[in-house]
């Protein structure tokens, strides 16, 4: 898959741009604390609502905090949330999906539970879960979004597994006397990985949007943490006087999610056509 990815990246300029941007954001996420021009928490009333210029590239907010520095630090939070939720969904989804497809009786029960979980609109389920945990915090956001997106991933993995199960090489493995565990671990799951990773890219994008929405609604991470969603929320009060407070963090959400969606599309195109239809 690495090779195909390289080929596609070269062939499609948009993908190349998207991947460069993702690499840049990842780098920013790692080194942000060392490169920010100002302390993102530093309150400086004299500089409040300062429009973007050379000293403050993205302007300052209502506390006089540097928006650029806060946006850079926000990258870390967004990426961490997106990747964690995607990882949780992939792990749980592959486990539940493959087991359900392989052992039909377990599958019948598990899939009913998943159907029920999917009957709740994403954001409402996430909000309800945040209400139970009772505390705003990154860990709880990741758990809530994981519970929301894992069933969706499990559905995909289930559909794929049902199809892969019918392929001849599974039959061949069974004919050679392979046990259930061996077939599942050595033959079924490895073939799930590529399509699930594609879906995981989209999940990562959705999770970043979901976390931003929770932060915007004031139930995500605590307000002092510089997250893009809560920055937009704080900026909305100053929408007439200082629109830059909400414009820049929002723009970064769009760019990051857009880059992930483009990457997902490219990966999907590189996928085995027999499985592509199921995504």
């Amino acid at each position: 898959m690495k090779h195909t990815l390289y080929k596609f990246a070269r062939n499609r300029k948009t993908t190349a741009v998207a991947m460069t941007f993702l690499a840049l954001i990842a780098l920013i996420a790692i080194i942000a604390p060392f490169i920010v021009p100002y302390d993102p928490q530093r309150v400086h009333p004299a500089d409040r609502l300062h429009p973007p210029d050379v000293t403050h590239w993205f302007g300052t907010d209502h506390f006089g905090r540097d928006v650029f520095s806060r946006v850079l630090l926000g990258a870390r939070l967004s990426l961490l949330t997106g990747l964690s939720v995607a990882a949780i969904s992939v792990l749980l989804g592959v486990f539940a999906g493959s087991i359900s497809a392989y052992f039909i009786k377990i599958g019948f029960v598990l899939m009913r539970i998943i159907d029920a979980l999917m009957a709740f609109p994403e954001i409402i389920l996430a909000l309800a879960l945040m209400a139970i945990t009772g505390r705003a915090g990154l860990g709880n956001v990741i758990i809530a979004l994981g519970v929301v997106y894992a069933p969706r991933m499990a559905r995909t993995a289930y559909g794929l597994s049902l199809r892969i199960k019918e392929f001849t090489y599974i039959e061949a493995a069974r004919a050679l006397g392979a046990g259930h565990a061996r077939i599942l671990i050595r033959h079924l799951v490895p073939n799930l990985i590529a399509p699930v990773v594609v879906q995981g890219t989209f999940t990562c994008a959705l999770a970043i949007l979901g976390a931003a929405a929770l932060d915007f609604l004031g139930v995500g991470v605590p307000p002092y943490v510089p997250s893009w969603g809560s920055m937009v929320n704080e900026g909305r009060l100053y929408i007439t006087r200082a629109p830059w407070i909400m414009i820049f963090p929002g723009l970064f959400i769009v760019l990051l999610v857009l880059a992930l969606n483009i990457l997902g599309d490219t990966l999907r195109d590189a996928l085995d056509p027999r499985l592509r239809k199921l995504l």
Binding site: P121, I132, G134, F216, G229, V232, I239, I253, N261, I262
Partner: protein, 315 residues
């Protein structure tokens, strides 16, 4: 058709029960005593005890569960802790805004999704197709709250063409022009959800335009407009109907954020307020109502298949 309906309804029963089970256990997953959590740190022991008793939390879980199921099927969603009123009443008061917002947004989705889908399919491979594709990916990547704020900034603050927030009830004032308060919210919500419909319309139409009967229709000299609108589009409609049910679910979810951006006091805003107020019975009630609605939409979609395609037999 009748047997199909009965079977389809029967298949919904386990899902419905599971939805209720999940909503029921929501309150039991709260760490500590739910009654104490809901009343906050200043409540006295007697108050907590009284609420525990009123909510039936002092009974065995199984008894509580049966009572809960029974209540829900009788339309009783419990008492709101904050409003001191039945949850069903609170929801009814807020329903107008949310229902109107969802319907107006659906209109926006249809107005954007279907024409762009058709155009992209007819002009497949051209710059127009590419342009729509780009806009669609962009639409899926913009957070609704941010788009809403940008539209508000442009059309309400700068151009002052439309109201920026709030929605005076049409039901109470009898003033239908209040719908203008829903224009920006509907565009916000509709735009974000129209990409899927556009993409689906495009790909289905492209498939169908390759069919022999389309060639036949063209060969007998029908105008391209008639071929597309009458022969192709109707056959492309089935998968599109599926997407519309998805879209409606997306709109249900999207109202939460949109109502908060535009200060509309609908059910979506109520959820967030209830989470912040720890009004668990209200959250529970909303979860139940919204998921029932979602399952009902799925059912209607299945029935709509049959009406659109007489070849589907409900055996």
């Amino acid at each position: 058709m009748v047997t199909f309906l009965i079977r389809r309804l029967a298949a919904m029963v386990p899902t419905l029960l599971l939805v209720l089970t999940i909503s029921f256990f929501l309150i039991h997953l709260i760490p500590g005593d739910p009654a104490a959590v809901m009343l906050g740190p200043h409540a006295t022991g007697e108050q907590v005890e009284a609420l525990r008793h009123a909510m039936g939390l002092d009974q065995p879980v199984f008894v509580q569960f049966l009572k809960y199921i029974n209540d829900v099927f009788h339309g009783d969603l419990g008492q709101s802790i904050f409003f001191h009123k039945p949850v069903s009443q609170v929801l009814l008061q807020r329903a107008e805004t949310s229902v109107l917002l969802a319907l107006c947004s659906m209109v926006v989705v249809l107005l954007i999704g279907i024409p762009t889908g058709i155009l992209a399919a007819i002009r497949a491979g051209t710059w127009l197709d590419q342009f729509f594709l780009t806009v669609a990916i962009l639409g899926a990547s913009i957070p609704t709250f941010w788009l809403g704020l940008l539209l508000m900034l442009a059309f309400a603050v700068k151009l002052q063409l439309l109201p920026s927030s709030g929605f005076p009830s049409i039901f109470e004032t009898g003033n239908i022009t209040n719908l203008r308060y829903l224009i920006l919210p509907s565009i916000t919500l509709g735009f974000a959800n129209s990409a899927l419909l556009a993409r689906m319309t495009r790909s289905n139409l492209l498939e169908i335009l390759k069919e022999d009967y389309i060639n036949a229709a063209r060969a007998k000299g029908l105008a391209e407009r008639v071929v597309i609108l009458k022969h192709a589009l109707r056959n492309a409609a089935i998968p599109v109907v599926t997407v519309m049910s998805f879209t409606f679910a997306g709109l249900l979810s999207g109202t939460v954020v949109t109502e908060n951006v535009f200060a509309l006091s609908g059910i979506g805003r109520l959820v967030v307020e209830s989470v912040l107020r720890r009004d668990y019975p209200t959250i529970q009630g909303i979860m139940v109502v919204v998921s029932f609605l979602y399952l009902a939409i799925n059912l209607i979609t299945d029935i709509a298949y049959g009406i659109l395609d007489p070849r589907i037999k409900y055996a």
